[in-house]
């Protein structure tokens, strides 16, 4: 465990580009560090002309230089001041975090790697599902493809190195384990994670008012369903 004082140092502020700053909160995948990233994102979201992009341990601020320019000074200086001020304010919006419960059909044709994960973890299939469903996850960031959530909070017993032979196409909705993370493929994509189940929900749908089902910082839980319920929910999602 890192020392608490090291954990709570203010983030380092790094200049990335003419229109971008990066706040670094740490250098590893860690739930407490990621919590700080999302807390900062909530506080900084209201800065005008600034786009916040959270990642595991850092937060990108991409800004419109013209809106932050004052006189001759580089716009970065003004934004840095505004960021420092905003981060000093108290954060009481954590209560507003959404929790989304995603239905998953585990195993069988929906999760062809469930047996491999169980063997690797020396657990039964049922125990793997029980542990995957028991945890509460955080959407650490979205990336790789539109709407792909990297979820923190996997039971360490289920962690498993990625496949040595990535699949050329993983079906949309696949719920998978890669290293210490779990995630959901929003569309058919190449992928090297182990597929343990599939959700009938659409994670990314341009017809929806909000195309991505999940947002950075959301809490996610999984709920086990069977093939029949999967088919019923899938039909509803297609409607």
């Amino acid at each position: 465990m890192p020392k608490p004082d090291a954990m709570w140092l203010p983030p380092s502020l790094e200049t990335l580009a003419e229109d971008a700053l990066l706040l670094r909160f740490g250098d590893r995948i860690d739930a407490a560090v990621n919590d700080r990233v999302h807390a900062a994102a909530r506080r900084l979201a209201s800065l005008p002309g600034v786009e916040c992009v959270p990642a595991y341990a850092s937060l990108l601020l991409r800004f419109e230089p013209a809106r932050w320019r004052r006189g001759d000074a580089a716009p970065h200086e003004h934004l840095r001041e505004a960021v420092a001020t905003a981060l000093r304010e108290s954060d009481d919006t954590e209560a507003a975090t959404r929790e989304v419960t995603v239905p998953v059909w585990y195993g069988a044709e929906a999760g062809p790697d469930l047996d491999d994960v169980a063997a690797h973890a020396r657990l039964t299939r049922e125990e793997v599902v029980a542990r995957h469903v028991a945890a509460s996850y955080r959407v650490a960031m979205l990336g790789f493809a539109p709407g792909f959530p990297y979820l923190l909070g996997l039971d360490p017993a289920l962690a498993m190195p990625r496949r040595t032979d990535p699949r050329l196409s993983v079906p949309a909705g696949s719920v998978a384990i890669g290293g210490s993370q779990t995630g959901i493929y929003p569309q058919a994509l190449p992928g090297g994670w182990h597929l343990i189940g599939r959700t009938p929900w659409r994670l990314f749908d341009l017809r929806a008012a909000e195309p991505s089902l999940l947002r950075p910082g959301d809490r996610v839980r999984f709920r086990a369903i069977d093939g029949t319920e999967y088919a019923r929910l899938a039909a509803r999602a297609d409607a």
Partner: protein
């Protein structure tokens, strides 16, 4: 009014100013690789600058215009003809109905832009008509043009459409392209990246002195650089973080990658540098095999150069608009 694609060219896609504001959902900006060239093409046909233009790569498309059209070509230097008529670049051209516009191979530069008065019309996706080939998002379900595609053209926002033309016709004036063309030699300005200090001594020096070449594996996502390899003092285990167009990453192969318009929103390779934004279009115009050298640049210089280029571009856009009105 529509345009039929007879031959798609090597890689041709609709691009506008990009799709900002959605990176937190894993959606990149995409947009034109050479943004000043795209904006100037729009200005030359009297479009608002946000209209989508066709971006073509190394070999341009062949297109049939159902009705008379006003077009402009900018960016890399390619052969262009409408039937038997050679067409000049960097000016406004009028094509009669039924014209077949043939764009040839690029003699200089890598990417060209074709704007049409009224703009290419396609339903915007998340506010943009840019094609994100990687995420398969945008016009034509996010793919490049194919033979047989029909592209709609919107109604002109200003100026009449030409009627009764018998032959293609170009305005008598054209832009001086030199300030907007890459000479293929100028070293590109590079800011040090967060992991620059993690390079070994020789590599730190090499980054700013070596002559790299653009790899044939380059695309709208990234320009990969061949020639010289860079090495870290020791391997780094990094956590993925946000990346940007212009970010210079160092994968384990040791060959630097400069991210481009379709930069992924996050990446986990060491970031050894950041290309000055004013030089991104220059790199976009270098083709496979072309040389790339970097020179070190400060943030203040990068900000200043970008601001100056924007001012110059704005002035020119105003000037073009006035000139079209008086024509």
């Amino acid at each position: 009014m529509s345009v039929t694609v007879l031959k798609p060219g090597l890689l041709t896609s609709l691009q506008d100013g990009g799709r900002p504001g959605h990176a937190a959902l894993g959606i990149g900006r995409a947009g034109a690789m050479d943004e000043p060239a795209r904006r100037l093409a729009n200005a030359l046909v009297g479009n608002e600058e946000h209209e989508a233009a066709l971006e073509f790569t190394l070999l341009g498309p062949t297109l049939r215009f159902e009705r008379a059209a006003v077009i402009a070509l900018t960016g890399g230097e390619c052969g262009a003809r409408a039937g038997d008529w050679p067409l000049p670049l960097w000016t406004c051209c009028l094509l009669p109905a039924g014209s077949v516009l043939q764009l040839g191979g690029m003699r200089r530069g890598c990417r060209g832009y074709l704007a049409v008065r009224g703009g290419f019309d396609a339903p915007p996706v998340l506010g943009s008509r840019s094609t994100d080939l990687h995420a398969r998002l945008g016009p034509l379900d996010g793919r490049a043009l194919q033979a047989g595609d029909r592209l709609a053209v919107g109604p002109p926002s200003r100026g009449p459409s030409p009627r009764g033309l018998r032959a293609p016709h170009a305005l008598r004036w054209s832009l001086d392209p030199r300030p907007w063309l890459d000479d293929g030699e100028t070293p590109l300005a590079l800011l040090r990246g967060h992991h620059f200090d993690a390079l070994d001594d020789a590599s730190r020096q090499r980054l700013f002195t070596a002559r790299f070449t653009v790899s044939k594996d380059s695309n709208r996502t990234a320009s990969r650089l061949d020639g010289q390899r860079l090495a870290l003092r020791q391997p780094l285990e990094l956590v993925s973080e946000a990346t940007l167009p212009g970010t210079v990453q160092l994968p384990p192969s040791g060959q630097p990658i400069v991210l481009q318009a379709e930069a992924p929103v996050t990446g986990g390779y060491p970031r050894v540098g950041q290309l000055a934004a004013a030089d991104l279009p220059r790199l976009a115009q270098r083709r496979p095999g072309d040389a790339v050298c970097f020179r070190e640049c400060t943030l203040a210089e990068a900000v200043e150069r970008l601001a100056r280029r924007q001012q110059r571009l704005q002035r020119l856009l105003h000037h073009i608009a006035r000139r079209l009105e008086s024509a």
